[in-house]
Amino acid sequence: MQAVIVVAIVTTIVFVLIHIAPGDPFTSAMDNPNVTEAMRARWRAMYGLDQPLLEQYVRYLSNVARGNFGWSFSMHRPVIDVLKDALPNTLLLAGTALVLGFAGGIGLAVIQATRPGSRTDRTLGAGSMFFYAMPDFWLALMMMLIFAYWLPWFPVAGAVDPVMHEYMGPLAALGDRLKHLALPAITLALLSGAAVARYQRAELLRVLPDDFVRTARAKGLSERRVMWVHVLRNALIPTISLLGLSLPVLFTGAVFIERVFAWPGMGWVILNGVATRDYPLVTAGVIVAAATVTLGSLGADLLYSVADPRIRGR
């Protein structure tokens, strides 16, 4: 119930803010010398944008309740179709990046925590700090420049080869998709993995001196088993919080990464919607985002109890 209230409040705020922002979905048409003010007024009337804001809001809510998210002015398609196209792409990209980032970050943290203060620890720490501090769009541009332009190992942009993809066999088509996925997914994974590694290392070092770790070692368990089974499980709570916060990216997209690599996902859709004052698209995007933030929190709560049974009892 709380989640529904949160989504409703966020939707209302965004609906009002985007409508009172300067311009409207037809402002960009003013660049066209032939588009007159009368024509714009007619377009506004056609889509009911000349009605009072409250009336527009009530109409929007009743449409959303019936599963109709409206018409995207910038994409010239139903909003639901736009989301249906963008969402799978974002899920693929962000899902891959999330898995790579969290797996890589946790792995790095374990390596660092088993050798605290060593040269390996310091080198990996500096490396993760480097990526943690780096602006995402800049890293994306550098990755594109190095691995798509100077060393043309990967394609520059897009989700598939626009020319050859449909003529490829199943394996080649899969390879093409993976090649296009590689650069944006690795960029995102480097950024999220660096954060995970830093949080996870700190938590592992906090847990390592605990009594139960000494007991596990006293029982004669191997160091690997102690670290991966006993210590890591007890040190996962902050990382799970981070995962909960990262989950919305799965649905709303990584705006700058998607833009730099021309990845046709949710991030670009929402950004474009804001720039073009595409009211229905922005509002629908925010509904999806708000819903996933609340679901992400719920998912994180569930994972806490899996990782630490003591939480289940509270």
Binding site: A21, P22, G23, T27, V35, T36, W71, L141, A262, W268
Partner: protein
């Protein structure tokens, strides 16, 4: 068979096969073929000619659909000289010039095989003029009263009044669409109809598919009544909203054509063994418009800019040549006024207000604007200061504003720069809530649009494109005379007078006229690029057989598959 005869037969067969192969190769080289991949940062808005507004949309629909006649490379819009037959193979003027009867080419077919008929022309015009459709081309058809049908191949255009451009209005403004495809949709529902995403036209290319924000593909129409397109297919690859991705795609060889080359890309393209640069004239120009209204009280005149002497002095303070060189390098030249050099009615010898800061200071002194201790001029306690508004999306305009700020400061004028989001920029212009703004204007071959941007009638109309609210009855009269001229040469003389009036009145500082530069893979052989549309002759581009690469052959069977019913309308 004796060995000698067998050997001779083998030789003859080999020779014949060789000749056939050679002929086939020669024929393919001449007829072309191949795939063109265009890299762009924007998607099309829609693919329905009466509603399309974006440049990408125009690039596609103008390959799929045809007008009755094309304006031709001379871009003459007066009378019918220079026009090239398209769907109409001939036309006849009535004695009183109030109607034109077009004769359609009887071979013309829609891409679904049905013949193009006069009723399709009538349908297109009624649709474009229907207020429920709200088509952007409707104002351009205001002089067309109606279209009647004499027989299945003869639509007749009836005009409200005689006009030198009436043929242009009738023959080129509307691309003809098939009534049997679009006639069943209510006009008000057209804009949201899915049919618009699967266009059926009569052009030398036909639509294959459109993946929103990813690709649009068209293929050669092998059955076209005049000639199929030489390229097998054209694909627009879209990097939505990201210029860098679009340009890198081209530089990395993933695309063959990039239509928006910037100065920083030119060296890279010139260095590449596979790429070349092609320059062609453009129809865009940029200027800083003065607002004649007081932005704080729109009913009052602007405290500075209502005075033509101040506007002229400010114009004299600006070294346009150095500004343009600094910002655009060699990719732009100083503008010659509210027009472009490529327009047939333009006179490039019109006298401009010269760059003369000394005279500018003298004029301002004489008007009572004297420099104070801080170097800024003031009169009656008011500083000679104003704000230049630019859209934050245009780095070129921001840089121009910064350089102008410095040049104005040298003559004692204080300028602030206000960079605002594009939507805010448009809204502030429309409501006259600015002092000065750096704008760009994309002209079309018809010079009639100048009324909308600088005419007195537009100044009286809220929401018009006359953002500076400039009104001058002498200029209006001169433009009316020019638009009524019977020939292009006469129009040029009359337009020169009108432009001279406007330039002398300095309602704006005419800043730059970009030179269009495109980047192309060397294997692509192009036809001349036209100033108003680089894509005008796209159907005549080709890749010679001996220069084709793998992607030129990837779609060899596409045209055939596009004919199959199952693939129609795929997206």
């Amino acid at each position: 068979m004796p060995d000698g005869r067998r050997a001779a037969l083998c030789c003859a067969l080999a020779l014949t096969a060789g000749l056939m192969a050679g002929c086939s190769e020669k024929s393919r080289t001449e007829s072309g073929g191949g795939t063109l991949v265009v890299s762009t940062a924007s998607d099309a808005d829609n693919l329905f000619p009466p509603l399309v507004m974006s440049s990408q949309g125009r690039q596609v629909v103008e390959q799929i659909f045809e007008p009755l006649a094309d304006v031709g490379d001379s871009l003459n819009v007066f009378g019918d000289a220079g026009f090239i037959p398209r769907l109409a193979d001939s036309w006849t003027w009535s004695a009183d010039s109030l109607s034109i009867a077009f004769h359609l080419d009887p071979r013309a077919r829609w891409h679904d095989g049905k013949p193009v008929r006069a009723s399709d022309v009538r349908f297109t015009l009624s649709l474009a003029k229907n207020p429920s459709v709200a088509a952007p081309i409707a104002p351009l058809l205001s002089n067309v009263d109606s279209v009647s049908v004499t027989d299945s191949l003869t639509p007749v255009f009836w005009f409200k009044r005689r006009s030198a451009q009436q043929f242009y209005d009738a023959a080129t403004v509307a691309l003809i669409v098939p009534e049997h495809i679009y006639g069943g949709i209510a006009p008000a529902a057209l804009a949201s109809s899915d049919v618009l995403r699967h266009p059926v036209g009569s052009g030398r290319f036909k639509f294959r598919h459109w993946v929103p924000n990813a690709t649009i593909e068209i293929v050669s129409n092998r059955d076209h009544y005049r000639a199929p397109a030489k390229l097998d297919r054209v694909i627009w690859t879209i990097a939505p909203g990201d210029f860098n991705a679009a340009s890198t795609r081209f530089l990395a060889g993933e695309a063959d054509f990039f239509p928006s080359v910037r100065p920083d890309m030119m060296a890279q393209i010139a260095k590449s063994p596979n790429l070349r640069l092609v320059e062609y004239p453009g129809f865009k120009f940029g200027y800083m418009v003065f607002n004649m209204r007081d932005p704080t009280n729109p009913k009052a005149p602007h405290p500075l800019f209502h005075d033509v002497a101040v506007r002229r002095a400010l114009t004299m303070a600006i070294d346009r040549a150095s500004l343009v060189r600094n910002v655009f390098d060699s990719l732009a030249i100083p503008s010659i006024g509210p027009t472009v050099r490529a327009m047939g009615t333009s006179d490039t010898t019109i006298a401009q207000i010269p760059y003369d800061p000394s005279s500018a200071m003298r004029i301002l002194d004489s008007l009572g604007w004297h420099a104070a201790r801080d170097g800024i001029r003031a009169r009656d306690g008011r500083q000679l200061a104003f704000t230049i508004m630019v859209p934050s999306s245009s780095k070129d305009r921001e840089r121009l504003a910064v350089l102008m700020q410095d040049q104005f400061k040298r003559v004692g004028v204080k300028v602030s720069i206000l960079a605002v989001e594009p939507n805010v920029f448009e809204q502030q212009q429309a409501t006259h809530a600015f002092d000065a703004a750096i704008e760009t204007w994309l002209a079309d071959p018809s010079p009639g649009g100048i009324r909308e941007s600088w005419g007195s009638e537009a100044a009286r109309t809220e929401g018009s494109k006359n953002y500076g609210d400039y009104a001058n009855s002498v200029f209006d009269t001169q433009v009316d005379s020019a638009l009524g001229a019977s020939s292009r040469s006469a129009a040029r003389v009359l337009f020169s007078r009108a432009f001279q009036t406007l330039i002398s009145n300095a309602p704006a500082i005419w800043l730059f006229e970009p030179r269009n530069v495109v980047g192309i893979q060397k294997r692509i052989h192009t036809a001349p690029l036209r100033a108003d549309a680089w894509w005008a002759h796209l159907a005549d581009w080709y890749v010679p057989a001996d220069e084709q690469i793998a992607r030129d052959h990837a779609g060899d069977d596409v045209a055939l598959r596009a004919d199959s019913p199952s693939s129609k309308g795929s997206s």
